[in-house]
């Protein structure tokens, strides 16, 4: 049979963001694939060197639309470590609340995209309808649905009042019910299983070799979670479980992400019940003393890594960002070997790519 090369991207209904993925087919079977990034490369690291630390807090949020708050959290954490600032507890709790809300929103978005890619449009509509609840909460708290600009160096710039807390309480209960329904319907849906079971398997060995992080790694049995292993913000004061599965296929990743969503809702409920009183931020000096710092956080897609070096001036000397999507992208050609063309959509959706994060 002859070989055809199907270009998936840069523009394709399958992808949310541009990515060039050339898949070589023989009949319907994939024999090879090549990946090319860089369509949304904006040079964030170079830009960061020409802006002050305060301006960078604005820039860093725009690395990605879906995980914007976690990026700014990690950045602010690094600079606060350099400044040896201690952020008040209330500020840390509000930071965590938005991180978890963002995790919920990201996983619901991903679920819709996966459902759409395998043809289950109804689940796509339901997941994105439930996502509106989260987006409304985030808009009430911060003023923006997707880009919150809540973090400042030294804490957060918004506070939660009684109205916010009661809205959160009500919405989280509703969300809990809906996500439970979604989990039940997915676990029992035969057509969903048929399209995702044994597709895109990654073994624990592959995960370790490629240094994969996040739900993709946890679905193959690797038990890592920065929130538990190296707690940042105030995660050591909250209790939560880290779901773990061993099958390593797209189905396991789906179930795992929904379980994580349920845990995130649980964390949000704990946060609003245990919110400490006090200020939400401290003032931060403009000049950061010389030093280097490494900071990690758990984004919805895995471990996000920041390295900041300061030389004593107002601008950082080096800002290095490593996003979790880079670790999962490298496994894609291996996952697609000997799969069918129809499974490419399930696999690509299953790893939850965020190309804007990967390209920076």
């Amino acid at each position: 049979m002859s070989k055809i090369t199907v270009p998936i991207g840069p523009q394709h209904p399958l992808l949310k963001e541009p990515l060039s993925f050339l898949v070589s087919l023989e009949g319907e079977k994939v024999i090879d694939s090549t990946l090319r990034l860089g369509y949304v490369h904006r040079g964030i690291e170079k830009l960061a060197e020409q802006r002050t630390y305060i301006q960078n807090a604005y820039l860093i949020e725009r690395i990605c639309g879906i995980c914007s708050h976690i990026h700014s959290t990690t950045y602010c954490q690094s600079v606060e470590a350099l400044l040896k600032l201690e952020v008040p507890k209330r500020g840390l709790y509000i930071r965590m609340l938005l991180c978890e809300l963002e995790r919920i929103h990201s996983h619901l978005l991903w679920l819709g995209v996966l459902a759409k890619n395998i043809g289950l449009n109804t689940l796509f509509m339901y997941a994105w309808r439930d996502r509106e609840i989260v987006l409304n909460i985030m808009e009430e708290i911060s003023g923006g649905r997707v880009s919150h600009a809540v973090n400042i160096i030294g804490g957060v710039r918004v506070d939660l009042n009684e109205k916010h807390l009661s809205l959160l309480q009500k919405s989280l209960q509703e969300l809990n019910m809906r996500v439970d329904e979604i989990l039940q319907s997915i676990e029992n849906d035969r057509s969903f299983r048929a399209r995702t079971r044994n597709i895109g398997c990654l073994s624990l060995e592959d995960i370790k070799r490629y240094c994969v992080v996040g739900p993709v790694a946890r679905a193959s049995g690797l038990d890592i979670d920065i929130r538990r292993d190296a707690p940042y913000a105030a995660y050591d004061e909250l209790s939560f479980e880290v779901p773990l599965m061993t099958e390593g296929d797209v189905w396991a990743r789906s179930i795992l992400r929904i379980l994580e969503t349920i845990q995130a809702i649980r964390l949000c409920t704990q946060i609003i019940h245990n919110l400490p009183k006090g200020p939400v931020s401290v003032s931060a000096p403009r000049r950061v003393p010389a030093g280097e710092v490494v900071s990690r956080a758990e984004a919805p897609r895995g471990e996000v890594f920041y390295y900041v070096r300061s030389d004593g001036s107002q601008n950082p000397a080096r800002l290095k960002v490593r996003t979790p999507t880079l670790t999962t992208l490298i496994t894609l050609p291996g996952q697609l070997k000997n799969m069918q063309l129809a499974d490419v959509s399930a696999v690509i959706a299953g790893v939850d790519l965020c190309i804007a994060c990967g390209d920076r």
């Binding site: 199907v6 063309l341 129809a342």
Partner: protein
């Protein structure tokens, strides 16, 4: 006067315009129902008309190297074949006289658009069109057979290959839906496969092959392809109703027409529900389902009817 009457019957009622109105109504119903199942509002009643008007106004471009004559001939031929098929099918109003063997002719005319869909993919070239066309052909070989086999149960039971005789047999013995419920369900599955609806819409799966064989079409040609699909749905459903539910209504009466319309709406609702509930199946799962499960049941079903 006779010529004007003929013109009226062919183009207005119960001809072209009438069929088109019903087909677009069914299409609107489909979209509205799926939207409601998904928690959305759905389009207003004039949406299908608006879509067609918009398509007719769009520029018609094709990739260079496409044979323009055939690229225009294919949608016209498929549309023409479906319209011809609809003349032979009585939609509660007898349009063309029935003859021995018109069951098979109707089957044949209804299957031409699927074949031409595959050819359309080949003519326009491009990776997505070719893959979509190939998948459509594979699906065509499987689900046309299923449709024919399952529907033949009614012809076998009535002892004739003429639509009028099938109807007369049902008026005498009662509608075939009750003794042949399995055949009806299999025909429905075959129809979904023929129409390339979810969950069998792998030839035009948006997330993989953009729009399948029709990726490169635009403007009037695309409008004709869409009209073909709408009419094919309506004719297919009417065919099902005629073969399984005849006897519930009187021919050539207003009440008969409304009962027929009600049955059409119910069946369209069933199709929309199935589309909303299931995920798209892969091509190999589709073929496996067809040849390992549906066809054997259809064969057994027909043998059972022959013996009884």
């Amino acid at each position: 006067m006779n010529q004007f009457y003929l013109f009226f019957r062919i183009f207005i009622f119960p001809g072209f315009l009438f069929l088109l109105v019903i087909a677009l109504f069914l299409h609107w119903l489909d979209r509205k129902l799926i939207a409601r199942f998904q928690g959305r509002v759905g389009p207003p009643w004039y949406q299908p008309v608006a879509d067609l008007v918009k398509l007719f106004a769009k520029e018609d471009i094709l990739p260079s190297g496409t044979n323009l004559f055939f690229a225009a001939l294919l949608p016209l031929t498929s549309f023409a074949s479906v319209l011809t098929a609809s003349f032979y099918l009585p939609i509660a109003i007898q349009s063309a006289p029935s003859f021995q063997g018109d069951f098979i002719v109707l089957m044949f005319l209804l299957s031409i658009p699927s074949l031409l869909y595959f050819l359309a993919g080949w003519i326009t070239g491009g990776v997505y069109s070719v893959i979509g066309g190939n998948r459509a052909l594979l699906q065509y070989f499987s689900y046309e057979v299923l449709f024919l086999l399952a529907m033949s149960g009614t012809a076998i039971a009535s002892g004739s290959w003429s639509l009028a005789d099938i109807r007369l047999a049902q008026i005498k013995e009662g509608p075939y839906i009750f003794p042949q419920i399995a055949g009806f369900l299999l025909s429905l599955a075959g129809l979904i496969g023929k129409l390339k609806r979810e969950p069998y819409d792998i030839p035009k799966a948006k997330s993989e092959v953009i729009a399948g064989a029709l990726t490169e079409f635009s403007g009037k040609k695309l409008a004709l392809w869409y009209l073909t699909i709408h009419l094919q749905t309506m004719v297919g459903l009417s065919f099902l109703i005629h073969c399984y539910f005849s006897g519930f209504w009187q021919m050539n009466t207003i009440s008969g027409f409304f009962i027929f319309l009600l049955l059409l709406i119910i069946l369209q609702g069933v199709l929309s529900a199935i589309s909303a509930i299931y995920a798209r199946l892969r091509i190999d799962q589709l073929i496996h389902l067809n040849w390992h499960i549906f066809i054997p049941i259809a064969l057994l079903h027909n043998i059972f009817i022959l013996l009884i």
